[in-house]
């Protein structure tokens, strides 16, 4: 039997918009994954939760403009805390195409702007987790 994928989701920082992340949480759960949604959290809190929960993937949501600053902190702190290197990161929210590229460069394997569909997101999570070293 296939192992259940575990996903940790958070709203990045103080961003107020949560319809998107709630939608993604439900869609991943409906797709058979285990989802932990911790609500609004700072990068260090997300890293602490990830250390405890040991998810395959960490997904964060940011529609308030702070994706680069907090995104960078999240990746840096995850590395500094020695979070399992095979953990996949994804981010959804409102960003310019240039920022979307910067987020990829920072280490977010999945970057989902407005209009991203369910199959796209679920498909990415399955594929990214399957391709990460821990699952091999």
């Amino acid at each position: 039997m296939e192992r259940k994928i575990k996903v940790l989701l958070a709203k990045l920082g103080l961003d107020v918009h949560n319809r998107g992340v709630i939608t993604v949480a439900k869609e991943l759960r409906d797709a058979g994954m285990e989802v932990v949604y911790i609500g609004n959290a700072l990068p260090e809190q997300i890293v602490a939760a990830a250390s405890q929960e040991d998810p395959d993937l960490v997904g964060v949501s940011s529609l308030g403009g702070a994706h680069l600053s907090l995104g960078q902190m999240l990746i840096d702190q995850a590395r500094a805390a020695g979070l399992a290197p095979e953990t996949v990161f994804m981010i959804g929210g409102v960003f310019s195409p240039a920022d979307a590229q910067k987020l990829k460069d920072l280490g977010f394997a999945g970057v989902f702007p407005p209009g991203s569909g369910r199959d796209e997101i679920v498909g990415f999570v399955r594929q990214a987790v399957a391709a990460s070293p821990a699952s091999v």
């Binding site: 103080l14 107020v16 702070a66 702007p113």
Partner: protein, 585 residues
Amino acid sequence: MASTKPTTKEILARAAGEPGAPLYNPQALAQIKAGFETWRESSVRPADREAWAQAPATVLGSEIPRNMLYTPLDVADLDYARQLGNSGQAPFTRGVHANMYRGRRFTRRQLAGYGGPEDTNQRIKFLLDHGATGISIIFDLPTIQMYDSDDAIAAGQVGMSGVAIDSVEDMDRLFAEIPLDQVTVSLVTHYPSNSALLFPMFLALAEKRGIPWAALKGSIQNDVTLEEVVRSGPEYIPPRDCFRIQCDNMEFIRRNVPQWNFQTLNGYNLREFGTSAVTEMAVALANLVESLEELIGRGLTADDLGQRAAFFWSIGNDFFEEVARIRAVRRLYGRIMTQRFGVANPRAAWMRCHVQTSGVSLTRSEPLNNVVRAGFHALAAVLGGAQSLHVDSFDEAYSVPTEEAALLSLRTQQIIETETGVCEVVDPLGGSFYLEALTNELESRILDELAEIEQKGGYVAAVESGWLQTRIRDYFHRERERMEKGEIRVVGENAYLSEVKPPEISVFEYPEGVEERMKARLGELRLRRDNAAVEAALKGLEDACRGGANLLPASVQCARVLCSEGEMFKVFKRAFGLWRPPALW
């Protein structure tokens, strides 16, 4: 918790009185009916007959079925004087003023807010220089969530998606060279809590500039729905305390700042979070009814309060539904104020509203399409008789609007106002069989949902129990399903997809160094100010929170002696404790 109190619907039904004077005579209706049935059998295709009533599948729609054709039969009971009246006459369906836009055009009020107060000051001046007639300030993430720029929780977010304000001195910089007694100012303080912290800074600034509070004109939002239901945030105070702060704001402002709208019931953000056109308005009215009851208990009158209540609606894609529902809620508000609260002053029965075009209805793909969408939304708002308007910019699925995009939004308003001629005739769609039938249907559905909330124990109970949150979640999950299935079609997103990649648009970039500047400034302020006065004012605020009296005099005092927003919010958290909203997924 079920309530045994009569619902607004029951109260209005009882107040309906004797039958009035129907517009259409029975003989004409009988003839129309006979003719209609013959036509339906002979001229309408069977397929159209079977699919006679169809609900438009639109983003944020209410799924009200529409007939293929509307006739007088759909509004057979139409009573002109009772249901419509002339403009400026009860029940105000056709508009709150007799001359509507001939007397005063809708206020062209575009949102502004990014970076530090100086940055936003530049954008405000730019908009005013280009013919905006009002301003609307949106605050950054830490300010809206009530943390200081130098709080660890604010790191990386200062000046994002709004302007950073920590103290009355920032408020001063925000409004530098802007005459506060001449421009109407909307402070988009979504929540009761931050309204009680930021508006006092505005009042303290007016004092500092020697402007009497009585000369100030504008509005705050101050809506529990936004703080407790629509917001995602790390810390929430309990709904009952939030409601008390909302009412404290209303009471204090009504008594002390007479031309200020003490509350703008914000359907907009609720709708945009994901709910129907009907729920948006029912929830706003439910909050209003409960607030009025509370404030009447504090010795204010509905006549006095009604004059300063204001609403904020989201106007989206379903064009006629949007026009109809502004009319519907105007009539319903008029009926509630006169028949339930017994107001005598007509002003207290005027549903005055600001409209923002729907942001959720815009797309990231082919962003220029959004110019067209927002144009239709804005036109619907104007045909519905809105007092004030903000048009969303085409690039908002990318970032805060660029100056170019913000100007195009303002130009959209000006083109409607200046070039289309729609402002010359009041309520131009009034009397349309379709529009009147739809107005009736929407009013009745809003009233039904209001009754549902009241039967559950009222507005605050509906928030505390999570009932409202669940209803919203169910709506937006279902809408997402319908989008995924292609039932709701959006051009460029899941319909009429193009292989051609549209040209890239320029995207707004935040100014650099805002966070450092705000932090340094706040650090310097903390050293310079009279910290004994600060401590005393914060202690006064805490006593006011824990006591039963209105807390605004204490928060105004805090603002005067240069307390920061975050320092004041800490007092709220200490005094009220924290609440955990229901999980929504």
